[in-house]
Each structure stands twice: as C-alpha cells, then as structure tokens.
C-alpha cells in the first residue's frame, strides 16, 4: 500500500470536528484504527465469536486458531525467536507491571538497584517504585543531556555493582529521543544486568528486531499500533518467562490444581490467566498485516520526513520552543509557547480541528527537570501529512493572535 494513500483507510477522517477536517496529532496517546481492523472485530463478533482454548466445538476451535495466528504474526513482526515468547496483556502498563512484579518476586534482593531514566513514562517508573516499597530496592535515574537524550555514556556512568535491571524507553513520548537499546543491552549483558524496554513508542514507529536488540523484555501497546484498545504484548526471552513465577492466577494458566498445591502451565499459558481479550487479539493480526503491507521501512521514512518538516516549521515560528533536539528522533514534537499555557493551546487548536495533547504526558520527572509544569505535544502516525503540520502551524498562529502575541 502506498503510504500517501493511507489516510483513506482510516474512516475517522471522514468526520468533521467543529466543522473542520480532523488533524489528528495525538497518535502517541493512541492511534486511529484502519478499516480492516474495525471490520475484523465486527466480523469476529458477528460470525465467529467464541471463547478460545477451552471448548472443543467448532467456533471455539476456529477462534483458538485465529488467536494463535496473531501470536505468530507478532513473533514475525518483532522477529522473536520463539512464538511462546509472546504474551498478550491488557496493555503495555500491565506488561511492565508483570515484569517488575515477577522479577521482584524471584530475582531481586534488598539493596539491589534498578536504573531507569528521566525520560520514563509513569508506567515504567511506578511498577518499580512498588518494589522500592516492598523489597527495599533502589531506583537510580540516568539524566538527560541538553538535547533531551539519554546517552550510552550516561547509562554507563549510572551503573553500579548493585544494578540488576535497566529499564528504559525505546523512544521518548516527549522529546522523541530514540535510545541506543542495542548498545545498552550489550553493555548491560556484559555486566549481567537485565534489560527491560518500554516499547510503547518504539513499536509503532521503528523497525523491531528482538534478536538483534537482544533485550530481555519488550513491552508494546497495541492501541498505539493501529490496533484495538485493551491489548498489549509482552515479549520476554524464553529463559526468563520459564524461570519467573506467574503474575496473575486463574483459569487457563494452570497444570494441576489440588487442595494443597497447584502447578502452572507451560508458556505462553502461564502468563495468560483468565479469559483473554480474544476479539482484540484476533483483530490485532490485521493491524500487523496492515503495517506490513505498507512496509515498516516506508513507515519509518515517512514519519522521519514529517518530523523533520514539522521541526523546521516550528523552529521558524517564534514564541514556539521545541522540547529536546535529539539527533535520533521519532514520532513526536513537544513544545511550549512563551506566554500561553499548554492547556490553552490545546483548547484553541482543537477549535481548528487540530487534536494535540497538553499536560505532562505521564512524564512528571522530565517536566520537573525541564522546570515546566506542562507542555504541548503533536505526535504523528502513518496517516499524517505535511499538510497536517502546516495546519498545526496555522493553528498555533491563530492561538498567538488570540493571546495578542506576535
């Protein structure tokens, strides 16, 4: 599929917002859904619905096969070695909680250290904070440089003999900085440190190869990848998923249940307790195939052009101050406007149909560091065009006019 024609595949763009075309620049929050994905959900519920894995009747068998097909597609998409390294969760947040919780149960000792960064989303900080409370471990923060990046050198500097886990974002949802995961993993593994990657923003914007990155865990949010809400993926190296204890308990994850003992099932069942998000998993197969039909290389190229273009545009707009200037950048343009609070910016832009996000974007640590209470963020997806960014710029100018700025 030609990426310039992609917008037409998303029915939402037929809608009007305050009588304007929708300029959707909030994909880092959640992406819109292509027709094929919406239709797949519809078709599944309409013609094929059944729970998976538990019954032997026709519909159940078919649903189980469809469900497992998605696992295979995800494996292919992220180039994981083994299908059973793919665990479905309710979101990236749950995936990160699963990792922190199970490593906390079996692996971490009092006094151990976890290294995260100032760029982390709350979802990659709060789960570790729980361990700070319950296990008395310590959390260290790698600091951003002037450009809003985390360098390999900074990571290296913050590693101590007690560092057991490094948990970092692949792509910052505020500065857009892409972290050198492969190099971080190499360094970490040479010191016996586990690497967990928050791939929420990496997965929709970058070409993924788990065997090349070699990280131990990678968390994905499907709703940011043109997939349904209520679904995430945890990639985990087989040896870890086999070694670690289960996270949630319930139907489907057991082997044998007695009054005095319970043994757990094999991968991936061990981590998929209870009825899963069947319809969402089955529809997510279409999201992956949709991305594959465009070609990830084309996605990366298209979005790089957009970000480049948008950056130039906003740099020329006085009063606008971009947050961060990383060499390796993707997906997002965050900024402040001197004299206008981000919430006012978002409200005014919305009136022109331009949807952006204002706030701390679940990154309070970063905003504290930058000494701003909030920022505005325009983020792109495969359906955005340079025209969308022109409209963003126009809307910002309108905003300045209302506030009597020039």
């Amino acid at each position: 599929m030609n990426i310039d024609l992609v917008k037409k595949e998303f029915p939402i763009f037929d809608e009007k917002i305050h009588n304007n075309d929708l300029v959707y620049l909030d994909s880092a929050n959640s992406s819109q859904k292509p027709k094929v994905v919406i239709d797949r959900i519809n078709e599944f519920y309409t013609k094929q619905f059944s729970n998976v894995g538990r019954s032997v009747h026709y519909l159940a068998v078919a649903a189980t096969n469809l469900y497992e097909n998605t696992r295979t597609s995800v494996q292919r998409f992220i180039n994981a070695k083994d299908k059973n390294e793919i665990v479905f969760t309710k979101g990236a947040t749950e995936a990160l909680n699963l990792v922190a919780n199970t490593l906390g149960q079996n692996y971490l000792q009092e006094g151990d250290e976890i290294l995260i960064t100032e760029l982390e989303h709350h979802s990659n900080y709060v789960p570790w904070h729980f361990l700070r409370k319950s296990k008395n471990i310590k959390i260290n923060f790698a600091e951003i440089n002037e450009e809003g990046e985390i360098t390999l050198e900074e990571i290296e500097k913050k590693i101590t003999s007690k560092t057991k886990i490094i948990s970092v974002t692949h792509l910052s949802n505020v500065t857009g900085a892409i972290l050198p995961i492969k190099e971080i993993t190499e360094l970490a593994h040479s010191k016996g440190i586990i690497v967990v990657v928050d791939g929420c923003q990496g997965a929709p914007h970058l070409k993924l190869d788990m065997q090349d990155l070699d990280c131990d865990f990678y968390a994905i949010s499907c709703h940011k990848m043109y997939g349904p809400t209520g679904l995430g993926v945890l990639y985990g190296k087989k040896k870890w998923l086999e070694e670690l204890p289960p996270y949630q308990g319930g139907g489907g994850m057991i082997n044998e249940v007695k009054k005095d003992r319970i043994s757990y099932g094999d991968l991936p069942n061990k981590y998929e307790a209870g009825t899963m998000a069947t319809a969402q998993v089955i529809a997510f197969d279409q999201s992956i195939k949709f991305l594959e039909s465009i070609g990830i290389d084309n996605v990366v190229k298209h979005e790089a052009e957009l970000i480049e273009y948008g950056q130039e545009l906003l740099k020329k707009n006085n009063s606008v101050k971009l947050i961060g200037n990383p060499k390796n950048k993707g997906g997002v343009l965050s900024f402040t406007i001197e004299g206008i609070h981000p919430h006012d910016v978002a409200t005014i832009l919305d009136e022109d149909g331009v949807a952006i996000r204002a706030g701390h974007h679940c990154c309070q640590i970063l905003h504290d560091k930058l000494n701003i209470p909030a920022s505005s963020r325009a983020s792109v997806g495969i359906y955005n065009t340079k025209d969308d960014l022109d409209k963003l710029d126009d809307a910002i100018n309108n905003c300045k006019k209302i506030f009597n700025l020039k």
């Binding site: 004299g339 206008i340 609070h341 981000p342 919430h343 006012d344 409200t347 005014i348 009136e351 204002a358 706030g359 701390h360 309070q364 905003h367 209470p373 909030a374 209302i402 506030f403 009597n404």
Partner: protein, 154 residues
C-alpha cells in the same frame, strides 16, 4: 464563536497579570488545591478578622489562563465580603459554571457580576471547567482551614 467567549480580553488580562498574587500579610487560614490532570496548583491565603470579614485574600500557583484569571477575579471579588457573603458568591459561581445561566447573588454589584460572568464561557468546555473551579473549591477549603489537598478530579 465560542473561543472568543472563553478567552475574553478580561480573562487574558487577568491571566497575564493576576491580582493578589503572593501571600497576603498576616493570613490566618489557607488551603492548597491540585488538578492532577493538568498539573495546576493553587494555594489560597485568607485573612479573616473578628467579624468574619475577609480583610485579605491572595493566592499562589501556576496554571492556564482560565485558572489564573479565575483565581485573580475570585480574590478581587471576595475581598471585603464577610464569610457568609463569600460562601454565597462561591455557590453562585459554581452553579453558574455548571448549569445556571445567571448569577443570583445579591452580594455582588453589577460590574462585579459582569466580571464573574466572563468566566461562564468555560461551560462549553467541559475539560476546562476544572481549571476555572479549582481556586474556588480551594477557597471553600481555606475557610475551613482544611489541611487536605483539594483535588478536582471526579
């Protein structure tokens, strides 16, 4: 056009140059408010005299134009009123923001009412209502000298 109603000159002006910013001298009551969604913070200070008259009122905080203007206008109008009058005005304001088209308080002069009415444009912007009401809820708390943080969520 709604935006013009929301961002009237007077709002922009109060937002950019908020009155009564800082700690009022000799305050004897105060309370803090926080809007976790936007990160807005406000701290309201009150000086009530023996006759329960608001001798001094001020605030500290950061936030959007709406929240700054609202706090600024609020402190302007409440100064000099007694506690009961103040509470009536608060109730009237919160009512206006949520549903009532008009202010009913008899404790406000016509020009005071006009000032307050400027904030009514926020009604059209449900996500922004909290910006306008945070300082007012915090003022209620300040009268009671409550030490709990006021939060606007839900």
């Amino acid at each position: 056009m709604n935006l013009k109603e929301l961002y009237q000159e007077i709002i922009l002006e109060h937002g950019q140059n908020p009155r009564n910013l800082g700690k009022t001298d000799g305050f004897n009551k105060d309370a803090k408010g926080h809007n976790p969604l936007c990160g807005d913070n406000v701290h309201v200070f009150l000086k009530l005299n023996g006759q329960k008259i608001v001798e001094g009122i001020s605030f500290e905080g950061s936030g959007c134009a709406i929240s700054m203007a609202s706090a600024s206008i609020m402190t302007d109008l409440i100064k000099g009123k007694n506690e009961d009058e103040a509470k009536e005005i608060i109730e009237d304001f919160l009512g206006m923001i949520k549903k009532n088209p008009e202010l009913r308080s008899e404790n406000l002069g016509d020009d005071e009412k006009t000032k307050l009415m400027c904030l009514s444009g926020v009604k059209q912007y449900p996500m922004r209502v909290k910006c306008a009401t945070l300082s007012w809820h915090t003022l209620v708390s300040a009268f009671e000298n409550k030490k709990e943080l006021v939060k606007t969520e839900n």
